[in-house]
Amino acid sequence: MPRPPSKRWAYPVIVIAGKVEPGQAEIVITMDVLTLSRLQFAATISFHYIYPPLSIGLGMMLVIMEALWLKTKNPLYHQMARFWTRVFALTFAIGVATGIVMEFEFGTNWASYSRYVGDVFGSALAAEGIFAFFLESGFLAVLLFGWDKVGRKMHFFSTCMVCLGAHFSAIWIVVANSWMQTPAGYHIVDTGKGPRAEITDFCAMVFNPSSMDRLFHTLCGAWQAGAFLVVSVSAWYLLKRKHEAFAKASMRVGLAVGLLASLLQLVSGHTSALGVAENQPVKLAAFEGLYHTTTNAPLTMFGWVNEKNEKVIGPAIPGMLSLLAHNDTAKPVTGLHEAAPDPKDRPPVNFTFQMFHLMVGIGFGMIAAATFGTFFCWRGLLFRKRWMLWLLVLSVLGPQIANQAGWFAAEVGRQPWIVQGLMRTSEGLSAVVKANTVLASLVLFTFIYLLLFAVFVYLLNDKIRHGPDDADLTPSGKLALPERRNS
């Protein structure tokens, strides 16, 4: 192999301003408006997406805990609901604060996209505001501060409404995003200042080919995030021999929801894959690094895609991909060359492949953790198996990493399109925003989010160390049972 000239840099060169001569570096990453805007969107959405799944999942857990309390009148469930409400409040506040950023960013960084899709995408966002956010944040007041102001049933109703609001927000935002993946129910109209998409059929837009599969998949991921947070904290208390009655009860609820959500996620993952195979063959090919249409297509367990010689290195199960994508090993799965003959129409294959496999791998790991945990719990062995408890302490990271990796796979897998087949990401940028401005805001957001994350972890840790409040074992105010008040 010839030695590269001395001026040639072997490592990737990041160019923010100025130019690199051709041949001077192996990989040149130009920090233009496009790259910076994509980085900023990726950074802000990734950070934001730590919190909504927790709101959805923990919201669900709170509903279950309060329902158990109402049914059994066991004060332990009241203590659980109170403790997890405090954790919920913490995640909710950051979720709200970082969520507004997302809504504004469509306009600030992706103005051309906003003009193009406002008619369609904007309606889903507005519906999210009216149907979801008001419900969620309105009843949050009663959930957090209403314990002594309203009766048990009214409080339970409010908790249900917060949970419902969180689920509604998932519905509308996933509908909006799914329309970007599989646009439907629209037509393109020339307005004089350029073409744009307009709704022709609202129902077809909402129930576009991928929206329901992806909604179910997202919700399962959110339930897992909530359930495994509860499992993880309970396991930690059991290891430290603190709040044991509380931890055992929380663990049972957490494991039950965690197991159910993990198994549903398996079903949902499969139906989503069928949908991707049908509607977005390029993305499916990128998920598996499949360059050529193949019958009896193999499913790689894990590995590396060499994008230059178009080969995948890693153990594979023959025929499995055909089976998963078409329910038939003999059927061909479309490869990248056939689905997107022009390499410019393909996403970065190895990155998409890695994110997809990370998500699937963790998905199976969560099923294993939940199954073993439930089994040991059922046999009454769990609370003595320290290695298993340690594993469950770590399990909180699983859904979080899988949720992030899943979104990366879904969004990077759609590239180079911002709206599949209609608009390229590079065409969606704001016309008037300069690279330096985006760089400044990117640095600012990164700094603030790192700070927020540090404070969040610090306060969460503090709440967990403080543990449940024993005063919560006797409900006060309007929540107290009449007979208790007399005794």
Partner: protein
Amino acid sequence: MNFGSLDLTTTWFILIGVLFTGYAMLDGFDLGVGALHLFTSKDEERRIMLNAIGPVWDGNEVWLVTGAGALFAAFPNVYATVFSGFYFAFVLLLVALIFRAVAIEFRSKQPMRWWRQMWDVGFACGSLLSSFLIGVAMGNIAWGVPIDERGEYAGTFWTLLRPYPILLGVTTVSLFMMHGAIYAVMKTEGELHDKLRGWINNTIICFIICYAVTTMATLLYVPHMAARLRANPWLFSIAVVNMLAIANIPREISLRRDGRAFISSCVAMAALMGLFGLEMYPNLVFSNPDPAQSLNIHNASSSTKTLGIMLTIALIGVPIVLAYTVSIYWIFRGKVKLDRMSY
């Protein structure tokens, strides 16, 4: 002026006005409480101030989120031009709103003095900066910003900081401070209540001065708004309602009818926003120096079909939202008492 038959674009112009007015009335008071936060000195007083807005502030902020969402859906060109054009101003607004939100949640979670002081400053500065920037944005769309023939913003960040928008920013801060002070008086009792009562007159005087200067500046230097007023003298009746509402505030406060003072303040805000809307109509963003490029309800709106669908959604959703918002405010009526669930 002629509204013509009340078509969908005009309806959405009004609805977006209603959403932003709702935002001003509701988040206005908690931004105002935030702006006054550092004037209180004792920890307990600050906690009472925070808990006065505690249960409702994030519901209030949803009015902004929904307003922006509705703008995106109904007038995508306005949303795109304004948000990308005012890029850095909006980034600063976001930063201010983030700090404000998390400061409320984080502040009382730790007992350390430096911790609480840090988040108190974050809360107050975040509230001040967001009120100011909202006013600056309003000032810019009224004064007019340079817009090119593609409908894109043609100025810079500094273009936004001209005297008139800054004046409107300051006026907004003073308006929210007055509104917040009235709300705080309504929600507190005892020593803090008396102290806040003493501040109200100052906030009212401060607001009236800002308001008078803004009105003069608008009549003298914003010709398109002044012309609208001259052509439609009946608009002065709204201005009269506005002044009467403002004048009624000190009266109600001295009669110790704090609730009515708060309602007067809300009426004053609604009249101000109504006047602003009527002077702008049919423009959403005025173009200066070339008025022909202004973004209005005709060249910036979504398709009639989408506006119709959105109207259906609003007609189903908004009454429900109003019903439970009112119920929740009812549950949390009365004076603030600190308990162990408080911030």
